[in-house]
C-alpha cells in the first residue's frame, strides 16, 4: 500500500499550484466580483449581484501616468477602510485642475488623482473624499468575464465624463 506516499504527493501538487496561483493573482492578474451600481452604465448595468473582472496589476504602469488615459478604470483601496476596494474611473492626474460644483476649482496635488464613479447619483468618490493618493491604486480593469453575453474588453474610451459639470480645466499647469 502506497497510500501515504500518494497523499503526500497530492498535497505537494496542490501546495505548488496554490503558491503559483497566489503569486500570479498577486502580481499579474486576478478575478474580482463587482457589486453595487456606482459604475452603472459601463459596468454592472442592471445592478445585479456580481460581475467578474480580470485586473492587470501595474507596479510598472505607475511610471507611465499617461497610460491612465487608455485604461481609465482603476481598482483602488478605499481611503476610509483599507479592506474595501472600489472600482472607479480616473478623471484627473496630478497637476490638473478640477471644477467641483459644491466647492471651488481644486488642483489635484502631487502624487494624487481624482476618481469618479460613472453613476453620479450613488457613488462614493473624490467628490466626497477628495483626491486620493496614487499609492492606493492596486490595479486596473481590463476585461469583463462573467455575464457570458458581455465577455470582452472594457470599453476604455473617455467619451463623456460622468457629470457634465465636472471637467478638467487644463492639463499640468505647474
Amino acid at each position: 500500500m502506497a497510500t501515504p506516499n500518494f497523499l503526500w504527493s497530492l498535497a505537494k501538487k496542490y501546495l505548488t499550484a496554490g503558491l503559483i496561483g497566489l503569486t500570479i493573482s498577486d502580481r499579474y492578474a486576478s478575478f474580482m466580483a463587482i457589486r453595487g451600481s456606482s459604475m452603472s452604465p459601463t459596468l454592472n448595468p442592471h445592478g445585479k449581484d456580481s460581475t467578474g473582472f480580470v485586473l492587470g496589476k501595474f507596479a510598472i504602469l505607475l511610471i507611465f501616468a499617461s497610460f491612465f488615459y487608455f485604461y481609465p478604470f482603476l481598482v483602488l483601496r478605499s481611503p476610509s477602510n483599507y479592506k474595501e476596494k472600489y472600482v472607479k474611473r480616473i478623471a484627473a492626474l496630478p497637476g490638473d485642475w478640477i471644477h467641483v460644483p459644491s466647492s471651488d476649482t481644486v488642483r489635484v496635488p502631487e502624487g494624487h488623482c481624482w476618481v469618479v464613479g460613472d453613476n453620479a447619483a450613488c457613488s462614493t468618490d473624490s467628490r466626497s473624499f477628495g483626491p486620493i493618493p496614487l499609492g492606493l491604486i492596486c490595479g486596473r480593469v481590463t476585461h469583463v468575464v462573467w455575464p457570458p453575453q458581455r465577455i470582452g474588453r472594457v470599453n476604455g474610451e473617455i467619451t463623456m465624463f460622468p457629470e457634465e459639470n465636472i471637467h478638467v480645466l487644463g492639463e499640468h499647469i505647474d
Partner: protein, 248 residues
C-alpha cells in the same frame, strides 16, 4: 490491420503485444508498426519496436526509420517532462520568494534625517513585518513603512502617532514658534510623524494618510554601522513620544 500477420510471428512470452501503429509516408503509404512492451515485474512498461517488425512489412529500412522515430519520441518525451519539472520547481521557488516578501517580512534599506534619534542618517537595514498591517494590528507607537502619498514610487519610514478617532496635537513650526494645532484623525486614516520633528515631511504637511498606504511594520534592525540586533532605541523612544504629540 494485419492482425493475421502478427499472429504468424512468434512472440516470446515475456512480451505483450500492445499497439499497432500506422505510419504513412510518401514512399510507402502505410507502414504498420508493431509495438511490443516487455513485461518486467516492478518496472514500468517500456514500449519499443520488436526486431521482428521487418518481417511484417518486408521493408527493413522503413521499419528502422519508424523505430528511430519512436525512439526520438520517447527521448523527447522524457526531456519535456524534465524541463517541465524543472520549470515548475523554479516557479515554486519564485512564488515562495514573492509570498515571503509580500506577506511575511522583507529587508529594507532606509536613510534620511527624519527618524534621526531612532534610525541612522546614513542608512539602516530594517526587517519589515508585512503581516500586521494586513491584519490591522498596527497601533500607536509603531514605526511603519509607508508608501509616500506625494510620490507613489517612494516609501518613507515614520512613526504612527494616532489611529482613527484619536485627537492629535502637533506643533505647526517647531523651530520658530510654539504654536500648536489639534485635530481628530478621520476614519480609516492614521497620523504619522517622524521622530526628528525639525526635519521631517509627514502628516503635519500632508495631513492624515489612509491606512491602505501602510506597507509594513518595522520590527528589527539588521545592521546599523557596527550595531546588530533588536531595536532597543525604538522601544525606549516609545515612552518619550509624548514630547512630540499628545494622543488621547
Amino acid at each position: 490491420m494485419h492482425v493475421t500477420q502478427v499472429a504468424k510471428i512468434k512472440i516470446p512470452k515475456s512480451y505483450n503485444l500492445v499497439l499497432l501503429f500506422s505510419l504513412s509516408s510518401k514512399k510507402n503509404p502505410i507502414l504498420h508498426l508493431l509495438v511490443l512492451t516487455r513485461r518486467i515485474k516492478g518496472e514500468k512498461k517500456v514500449a519499443y519496436p520488436h526486431p521482428l517488425l521487418g518481417a511484417i512489412n518486408g521493408n527493413k529500412i522503413e521499419t528502422m526509420r519508424a523505430a528511430k522515430l519512436l525512439q526520438y519520441a520517447r527521448q523527447w518525451r522524457s526531456t519535456a517532462k524534465e524541463v517541465f519539472d524543472h520549470s515548475i520547481l523554479f516557479a515554486q521557488f519564485l512564488s515562495i520568494l514573492h509570498l515571503t516578501d509580500t506577506y511575511i517580512c522583507s529587508p529594507t534599506l532606509v536613510y534620511g534625517p527624519s527618524m534621526l534619534p531612532t534610525l541612522n542618517f546614513t542608512g539602516d537595514v530594517l526587517l519589515v513585518d508585512k503581516l500586521s498591517p494586513l491584519l490591522g494590528k498596527v497601533g500607536t507607537g509603531d514605526v511603519v513603512l509607508v508608501r509616500s502619498p506625494e510620490n507613489p514610487r517612494k516609501t518613507i519610514t515614520k512613526r504612527v502617532l494616532g489611529m482613527e478617532g484619536d485627537r492629535v496635537t502637533f506643533l505647526l513650526d517647531p523651530a520658530h514658534s510654539a504654536r500648536s494645532h489639534s485635530l481628530v484623525v478621520p476614519k480609516g486614516h492614521v497620523w504619522i510623524q517622524g521622530d526628528n520633528i525639525y526635519a521631517s515631511n509627514d502628516s503635519r504637511h500632508v495631513g492624515p494618510i489612509p491606512y491602505g498606504l501602510i506597507l509594513g511594520r518595522v520590527f528589527c534592525r539588521l545592521s546599523s554601522g557596527n550595531m546588530y540586533g533588536h531595536l532597543g532605541t525604538l522601544d525606549h523612544w516609545d515612552n518619550d513620544s509624548d514630547e512630540n504629540c499628545n494622543c488621547n
